[in-house]
């Protein structure tokens, strides 16, 4: 045991610890009232977060103490338990703000979706690492998608579109393990068509798209161009754009459509739908090079940014620590993800590698979606910044996710 402990990747642990510590400092800033009060006051957000961190350390020790084979062996059971916990929400869960995402224990709550990510990662790693599965085959793809799809569907039903979005991150490990390019390229194309349709509307997008396809066809001199392929692309492209148009205008709820409109600058209602983003951008924008100082941000102290201790925590960094603080956080996450990438790639066992890829992908998508949202590059989606945002379930979920991987990695080294 001491031997494995020494072989844990301490760089990752250091970065995670810095993120948690800096995160707590910012949570404190968003919620403190007067410096005389104890930081352990459990009626205060910062006091509770400190408790969560303490419990997190215990959870970490437990996870690290477990036998590393345990995770691979029990992956399926953990997955099933996780699905049950999500199902149980519909019976025992507590509905807060229209979402049934919580088990309530007095003043505290647990959000099973935060732990389901780890379960899916384990199950996916286990499934892919089984010898007879090949992701270039359609049946294997389908089964892999099913592993992701079941919890995704249950979370969509809560409904929590933000958390559901996170499950797209599992496409990255699948791609690494042989999922055809087709999915990624078409996914990116679909995203491009989606954004362009959103911005310019179907009527403007359609003729430009047709024109573009004709140009590409005319300039394609490499082979004998297959006309029917272009035709198919055209039909699908236009069809998708049209349905985006239709979904935006007829299917999405008004507040969801507003979020897109805010992002593309279509609406400027800074009292209404654009309020959060506007306040967030003002807070970040007024930070300058080094910020207004800890506990001195006027937007933060005035509590102008809604949900600032959870999803909008990054705006506090922006205001009180300036460009210096925000770039340090961005760089820390980048190093963390690249480090996890490095660790994952050096795994000999496919299970370990797939799991490592899942970890870095989940963290990356959280990092990307959360900060992009806070700085106005992505529509409003309620997901936390890993290790940084307030919340016990989230913190523990991420700790477990990462530490299982570190344990697996340490075990591999000890085997060498």
């Amino acid at each position: 045991m001491p031997k494995t402990l020494l072989q844990l990747d301490w760089l990752t642990i250091l970065i995670v610890a810095i993120l948690i510590g800096f995160g707590w400092g910012n949570i404190y800033s968003t919620t403190f009232v007067s410096p005389e009060e104890s930081i352990l006051d459990l009626s205060k957000i910062y006091g509770r977060q400190l408790l969560f961190i303490g419990l997190g350390v215990i959870i970490a020790i437990v996870v690290l103490a477990l036998e590393s084979k345990f995770f691979e062996r029990f992956a399926s059971i953990i997955y099933i338990l996780s699905i049950l916990s999500l199902l149980g929400l519909f019976i025992f869960g507590k509905t807060i703000a229209g979402q049934t995402a919580w088990y309530s224990f007095g003043a505290f709550g647990l959000q099973p979706a935060e732990f389901a990510k780890t379960a899916v990662a384990l199950a996916l790693a286990k499934y892919i690492s089984e010898l007879d599965n090949d992701l270039s085959k359609f049946t294997s793809q389908l089964k892999a998608f099913a592993i992701i799809g079941v919890p995704l569907a249950l979370i969509m039903l809560q409904p929590d579109a933000g958390s559901a979005l996170i499950y797209l991150s599992f496409l990255i490990p699948l791609y690494r393990e042989g999922l055809p390019h087709f999915y990624i390229t078409n996914g990116l194309l679909a995203a491009a068509i989606f954004i362009l349709t959103l911005k310019f509307g179907f009527t403007l997008f359609a003729p430009v798209f047709v024109f573009l396809m004709i140009i590409i066809y005319l300039f394609n001199r490499t082979k004998k161009p297959r006309l029917w392929l272009y035709f198919l692309a055209l039909v699908f492209g236009l069809g998708f754009s049209y349905s985006v148009n239709f979904i935006l205008n007829s299917v999405l709820l008004p507040h969801q459509k507003d979020r897109f409109d805010v992002l593309i600058g279509e609406t400027n209602d800074i009292k209404g739908s654009a309020f959060n983003l506007y306040q967030s951008e003002v807070a970040i924008g007024s930070g300058g090079w080094t910020g207004k100082g800890w506990l001195k941000g006027s937007q933060t102290q005035g509590r102008f940014v809604p949900e600032q201790h959870t999803d909008y925590i990054f705006s506090t960094v922006g205001e009180e620590w300036g460009f210096l603080g925000t770039s340090i956080v961005v760089i820390l996450f980048t190093i963390l993800i690249l480090r996890l990438f490095h660790l994952a790639e050096r795994q000999k066992s496919q299970f370990n590698r797939v799991y490592g890829y899942c970890v870095l992908s989940v963290i990356f998508v959280h990092f990307f979606v959360n900060i992009a949202m806070v700085i106005g590059l992505f529509p409003t989606v309620g997901i936390p910044l890993p290790f940084f945002s307030y919340g016990g379930s989230g913190l523990w979920g991420f700790l477990i996710l990462v530490l299982i991987f570190l344990k697996l990695d340490a075990k591999r080294k000890s085997l060498d």
Binding site: R176, S298, Q301
Partner: protein, 622 residues
């Protein structure tokens, strides 16, 4: 290749974020100001406006609290429009338009929704105000008038308009600013300095703590108190005497240039222009084009000065040495000049000399000495300009530089004026063409304050201080050089003695012998000035203006005044009586001649003023 995806994604994301953050935090400066606007509240502290006292320390104008309902449009949350409207005593539509207006002015800055509630209205509102987010109440001071006179002198205060805010960055929506009179003239002294405190506030609009430890806060400075040169008692008495008449009284202390009284009639009650009813009442006063109560006749009305001007004509003639004191002039009921032109004169003993000429107000005498003055020079142009120079040294034809915001220059013609009028050099003109100037009936036009000032200069025998209304600011006497520098006339001191003698004799045997003030030696001069008005597009002569100038005591004068009563007929009839009473009031405090006082109080000229509007033919000078 597949391995590269995470590296590409994360590098691209980090790069994208850093660029966006650099743009937001470093390149785009606009957020700093927005942030301050959102999270820092400025709380203004409006200081007490300075009090205004008269020369004897009597309080004329104080303050009373008033409460404006303000709103910051961006912070206004949904509210019960009907309920608030009824609380504010506005119609819901009006409330809505006020809010729209406020939004146009600035979504982030406070605008007045409804101004100047009384203390009572405020008490009711205060308890419910918390229900209306984005609205708050700003306390201000309104004027509280202690006296029922001097409205035109004092002026009033009113909310600044959009244009004033644009022009002068000091003012904010809802600020009060002096308009007209002393309030306008001494606005910056009276208003003091507004203080401001910066508070960090939270999203619920609660102040959290001082912003940056109060680094940007300023302390308000109370407005300075003013002591005016006005004598409140005399002013009140003057306004009382002018009831039912139109015109003005200006009384000046000759030794200092201090304005003792500045009456314009008709006037208005200052209380009309206080508080919420101000704008309605102001409109009423403003559109009263018949009485023109806002028009300060003492400063802005220009009249032909009439006979008092003869005193100046005499002085200039003596200075130019064109007449001897003992030289006799015959008056045969007028003076014939040119080709059969004749200037009439009233009945009086003949012949006259300088002193008796003044006392009897002989037109013929002054026509001749005036003519000699002009003709002393080779050309009438030269003569007129020399004459004008003398007259200008008495402050005529100029704004005088007194410290009130309105005035007229009057008219003191020069050679250019006549050259243009007579189309010189195509046609020549001579002294005789300007002869009416001798008796103040020509082209010369003066305001009451100019004539009062010239009288003061005569009383001082050749000098004056520019008339002014400010005596002390915060208890210390003014040091403004403008009002402490002697203005010297071009007339030598010795020439004043015979003129003053003649003006004194006006009361002894002259045109105002029945107006002697018991126990006081007064010098004065009557005036009767012809005047015309347009009635239905036709130039019609109206009853003469009654004019009087006087100073007293003759030796060491304490008061010099000019009185104009429009259409009051001859000089001693109205203006003379009023002058005499004013002098008695000022120098003796008590009026002994109750009959004289009663006559003035009982006589109104309203019938006279109604004549041109009657639409029927009317007779004048009855």
């Amino acid at each position: 290749m597949r391995k590269l995806l995470p590296i590409i994604l994360v590098s691209f994301t980090a790069f994208l974020f850093l660029i966006r953050l650099f743009y937001l935090q470093i390149l785009d400066d606009s957020f700093d100001e927005v942030s301050t606007n959102i999270s820092v509240r400025k709380v203004y502290d409006y200081p007490q406006r300075g009090y205004i006292y008269d020369r004897n320390g009597e309080l004329l104008v104080g303050n009373q609290p008033a409460y404006d309902v303000m709103a910051v449009p961006l912070e206004v949350k949904e509210f019960d429009t009907l309920e608030l409207a009824s609380l504010l005593k506005l119609s819901p539509e009006r409330l809505k338009t006020q809010l729209e207006k406020a939004w146009r002015y600035s979504p982030r800055l406070a605008s007045v929704i409804t101004p100047q509630l009384t203390k009572k209205e405020y008490a009711v509102l205060q308890e419910r105000m918390h229900k209306y987010q984005g609205f708050y109440i700003q306390k201000r001071a309104l004027r509280d008038y202690n006296v029922q006179h001097s409205a035109n002198i004092l002026g009033y205060i009113a909310e600044v308009g959009d244009r004033e805010i644009a022009q002068n960055p000091y003012y904010k929506s809802g600020d009060l600013r002096g308009k007209q009179g002393v309030e306008e003239q001494y606005e910056e002294v009276l208003r003091g300095k507004r203080g401001v405190k910066h508070f960090l506030r939270d999203i619920h609009n609660k102040n959290i703590k001082p912003f940056k430890e109060g680094k940007f806060d300023t302390v308000s400075k109370k407005g300075s108190d003013l002591h005016l040169t006005i004598d409140a008692q005399l002013q009140a008495y003057g306004e009382k005497l002018m009831k039912g008449k139109r015109g003005g009284i200006v009384a000046i202390e000759p030794s200092t240039g201090e304005i003792l009284t500045l009456v314009t009639a008709p006037s208005y009650d200052s209380d009309l222009l206080v508080g919420r009813k101000r704008s309605r009442n102001f409109t009423k006063l403003y559109y009263d084009t018949i009485q023109k109560p806002l028009y300060n006749r003492a400063l802005q009305a220009i009249y032909a000065p009439g006979s008092p001007f003869k005193a100046l004509t005499g002085l200039v003639a003596l200075q130019e040495e064109v007449v001897g004191l003992e030289e006799n002039f015959k008056c045969n009921g007028g003076y014939t000049y040119g080709r059969g032109q004749r200037m009439g004169c009233h009945h009086h003993p003949s012949p006259v000399q300088m002193v008796t000429g003044i006392a009897h107000s002989c037109n013929s005498y002054f026509a001749q000495v005036y003519r000699r003055t002009i003709e002393k020079y080779d050309t009438p142009q030269e003569g007129i300009d020399v004459w004008r120079g003398h007259m200008a040294s008495f402050g005529l034809g100029d704004y005088l530089g007194y410290d009130l915001p309105v005035g007229r220059a009057g008219l003191l013609p020069d050679s250019d004026y006549y050259n243009r009028a007579y189309r010189y050099p195509t046609y020549n003109w001579y002294a005789s063409a300007t002869l009416s100037n001798a008796i103040g009936q020509g082209e010369v036009l003066t305001t009451p304050i100019q004539l009062a000032n010239a009288t003061a200069a005569i009383a001082n025998k050749g000098w004056y201080y520019k008339p002014h209304i400010i005596k002390e600011i915060d208890g210390s006497a003014i040091k403004d050089e403008k009002y402490t520098t002697k203005q010297v006339t071009t007339i030598d001191k010795e020439h004043f003695d015979p003129i003053i003698e003649g003006m004194h004799d006006v009361f002894n045997y002259g045109t105002a012998s029945f107006l002697r003030v018991p126990g006081i030696e007064v010098a004065g001069k009557t005036g009767t000035s012809e005047n015309y008005a347009k009635v239905d597009g036709e130039r019609v002569q109206l009853t003469d203006h009654s004019i009087f100038v006087a100073f007293a005591p003759k030796e060491n004068p304490k008061i010099a005044l000019a009185v104009f009563v429009e259409n009051g007929y001859w000089g001693s009839r109205y203006a003379g009586r009023i002058s005499s009473l004013m002098i008695e009031k000022y120098l003796k405090d008590e009026i002994e001649r109750k009959d004289l006082e009663r006559w003035i109080l009982d006589h109104s000229l309203e019938d006279e003023y109604a004549k041109p509007y009657s639409g029927e033919p009317f007779k004048i000078n009855q």
